[in-house]
Subunit: 335 residues, 4 copies
């Protein structure tokens, strides 16, 4: 039988929108602590970039009554690739339609996953153009490294909470060509989480089972440092200024990522990724599956403290059970 | 006009063969200082792996009267991709033929670049299978992390010295689908170096102009750490034990790689790559071009000491002019 | 009233003896994973040094039926200082006597603390003399950096479990001139731990309340790296090879030390110190006191995972209650 | 003969005054890039602290027509120690007098070294008292870690350029009890530099021979990070914003310090110290002497790029020859 060739039609996770009930505090946090640049702002949203992100923005921060995730935007590998994927999504039966006028990119195909997460796939994009003062002396750097906080370098991945991991992952694999790099399966049948990518990265998107019954939530949004030392520096700042660090700095077995998880002021969980993890170049990669015999001892955390109960229940929007667990873990913010 | 879709037919740099006139010393160095595993050995060659390399070997170390580079082996993205690239190479007029029986992989297409470097492209590969004692508790790690030296994680890239950078790069771009990520062009016309990749990495192969007139030489072979601190640790060991460190630890502007260059006992320049550099996900990436106005001040080295004259003339096999420069820089080895 | 001048009569913690019921496994661990040198060995003990320790040895590893701590040896600041401290100890009423012939140093004054820990104070010491092959090219380094594991640089401190922290600390302060840099006091009266030093270091010796009723035990022995990255490297090795990591890498609020705690094969808790912590130069330093309102949230761990229950009960020799807690936490050693 | 006991009467380098012809630019630099706090300011000077410095200030930045060093202020170990040292200085024949009213400390003894550097020795000091908003949650930290730049932790040492190294070092040793930890002697007689300390640090003050004939100049003022990664971060910022990095990040053999040298906007050389170096606890320490056979290969730089010619000639105030060398090395500041 013939080897099925991989699909290379989705280039990257380009932008993610998150909702915040504390818009000013959230915006100030991303600017001051993570050194992100506010590229644009309208009455409802701010458009932010990490200093090595190349497009108009990589995160859209939107006022809302609840925290959570909005549109997840992907860039196609080519105009032709965009058409191919749109055809595949349409064939899948999941609802979709072409939309216009989103800030930062042109005509996009909007579709929802089985769990209801809204995604955009587009080709035409608006590049960030630095002013003379913003231009870096490092030609491959989109913008000067900022002076505030411990600045993140680029958007890395998004982790969504879904009612059915296998079903939603299959949709992303079959319609968009994602490959399942790692997953967690307990009892030989219950898929609790998985990590999917269209590149050598272990994941641009991951899925965590939502046990709250709510579904369609955000587990976390992740930005990238690639440096171990910067993780201790940002953790020091978060601790000093009273942000709630949920876990880390520590190293996952899964993805080999050196991580820290905390809640931004609006309540969304943010991950900072301070290692290179590992890269997958093998085209015959077999999904690495963790189970109850090794997830707790090596997979969840390879080096460093444990993942708290919160990590497995808390997501945004917050649902009560999770909220209680989260409140229980809340630290007293310093004035 | 329509956007030309990128080619995704070459998956990765899989293996590189280097020649050494000091086989035992070289072998001992790679095992003791870089923690590489000797997977196999025959009368003529040793087959070595970094502990996160997944195939039978990633470096073939071969006895020879002179240092230098042998076969550069690439894995295709699929059997179909292999056939497509073979057709393109054949169409290019460069000589090529199918070869069998190379240790570590099956039937391969052997071809030479315009400058004469010998390459293999293959699909069927032999995976490394750890013994019980070698198996890592980290499921995505091919083998236990070794206890000796500062062990490298994987083969990263090869940099070859060629008589004509543009001509050889064009061959790799047109026949194999490499993209030119960065290059150095002085006087608006003389291409002195370029960095090519088939993945988000800035390069799996780079080319440096060989001014010695020899051509078809090795500039360096690079292994990957991804950790800044390990660079200081390996540099400390190299200095203690009298290896010649040519440059670094320092950070290139080009590739943003945190590097160290030194000569292994056989005389081949080895680079260790201790940073993540940056990754390229933009399918419309435009080659970043450095020139005489910024190469010396930012491109060659962004942070840290300068690149010595050796760096621009020394390669293997050693040709006299370069050899003199190298000898001049030689440090007294400690007993 | 006049300011009481500090006493500067004790120069440093020079050597510590630990007992192990698994002599060969312990010896192999310290040599292979921590890169320590076996300077001498007799039927009963091995004498080990970190590569930047300057004397004959810094740790004496002794065969025993139980794990635990033996003699704690201090070097005086001068021969005169030795006499002054001996007079002060004698005046304190604690038993003491001059002893001869301990390997590594000359005539020493042996005394016991109120809790029964045996200490030596000496002046004449035997320096380590490297062979030509062992001599480092770095003149301030006692010996070449070793090639095995992630080598520790020097002995840092010892932490002992005592029945009465205040009483034993007072003895060290009044007779030897230690200063209490930090302590933990709950309920405004119960001193649970303290950190004492005779130098700008926060501690050469620390004391932890022994709730087992046993007393006179070892909490941990600590070696120094001073590098954050090396902590992740040694943790990776310990995890790979099945050693029990109790906590860390993480950062204490107390001492600001970046730590990792694990049990060597003989069962003794070892700490590796991967940060500089902070240094105290202020001669009017006031003891920093942590209580129940800030010890759990900032003092015990400033950055990273929590300290497990084990940390507060387990010591050597092992007493049952603690042993159970320890066994419960035991991981499955890898083959 | 009896062992001469060490003197422990000087506790620490407390404050250093530097002059700048570009007061506003210098002040902005120390606040924005090094995260220093402006504790006070009068018409002529600003008083700055690193966030872990415990007194009113550690650096006094003073308007002047030329760059250079002003008063170097030391804290005594006790009031009695202050009197003892004053008596020793007076006995030495070097001019001295009691002065009052310097901001940050009380009555001080002002004296000049043979080369003319002005020093203060004092006991009574004004401690920094954080406001509620400035108070750190880490009890041993004087103030919250700042959010701007890569903040330095504390003042580390000063390096002065003198006409006669041996003569000036001898004065510091005999009158204040400094110990000579390392030095550089070429040709067996010409002492080119030395490192002196009153603590386990390798130096609180160092001396470099001034070949310009001027003497009484500043070679550099050093602040401390203790983290290797932060050195790459601050170097990245300096490079981005056009400051002149003279050397590093690299590791000295002497002091084992991981260093970076650059010129602040006023022209004074600043060193950032990103490693722990090594600490000296041996009371019988013998001065480590480097000569022409090992200074260039190991002593000056152990790991990393070379020290440029500037390093050996440039100091402040700038004298012509040195100025030319410095201008030659000047990079184009980015807008």
């Amino acid at each position: 039988m013939t080897f099925q060739e991989p699909i290379h039609d989705v280039a990257q996770l380009a932008m993610v929108e998150i909702f915040t009930p504390k818009y000013e505090e959230s915006l100030n946090f991303f600017e001051t602590f993570l050194g992100m640049y506010k590229q644009a702002e309208d009455g409802k949203s701010a458009y932010l970039r990490a200093y090595e992100d190349r497009y108009h923005h990589s995160m859209k921060l939107t006022r809302s009554d609840k925290a959570g995730v909005g549109v997840i935007s992907w860039r196609a590998m080519s105009p032709q690739a965009l058409e191919r994927r749109v055809a595949a999504i349409a064939a899948s039966g999941q609802p979709g339609r072409w939309v216009e006028g989103h800030k930062g990119y042109g005509r996009a195909y909007e579709f929802t996953t089985p769990d209801g997460h809204v995604n955009h796939l587009f080709w035409d994009v608006e590049y960030f153009k630095p002013t003379e003062a913003q231009r870096s002396r490092l030609l491959s750097r989109a913008q000067k490294r900022p002076l505030s906080g411990v600045p993140v370098r680029r958007l890395d991945h998004v982790n969504i909470m879904v009612s059915d991991v296998t079903k939603n992952a299959t949709f992303m694999q079959e319609t968009l060509g994602f490959q399942k790099r790692e997953n967690v399966v307990f009892g030989g049948k219950d898929e609790l989480a998985c990590w999917l990518s269209v590149s050598p990265l272990v994941h641009e998107i991951a899925m965590t089972k939502d046990n709250s019954g709510h579904g369609n939530r955000l587990h976390h949004l992740a930005f990238w440092y690639g440096s171990q030392g910067q993780m201790l520096d940002i953790a020091d700042l978060l601790k000093e200024y009273g942000l709630h660090i949920e876990a880390g700095p520590a190293k996952h077995g899964i993805s080999q990522g050196y991580f820290i998880y905390f809640y931004e002021p609006g309540g969304n969980r943010i991950e900072l990724f301070g290692d290179c993890g590992y890269l997958i170049f093998d085209p015959e990669w077999k999904t690495v599956t963790w189970d109850e015999t090794n997830f707790w001892s090596e997979g969840g955390v390879w080096i460093g403290g444990d993942l708290p109960q919160d990590f497995f229940v808390y997501g945004t929007p917050i649902v009560e059970a999770a909220a209680e667990a989260a409140r229980a873990a809340e630290v007293e913010p310093a004035e």
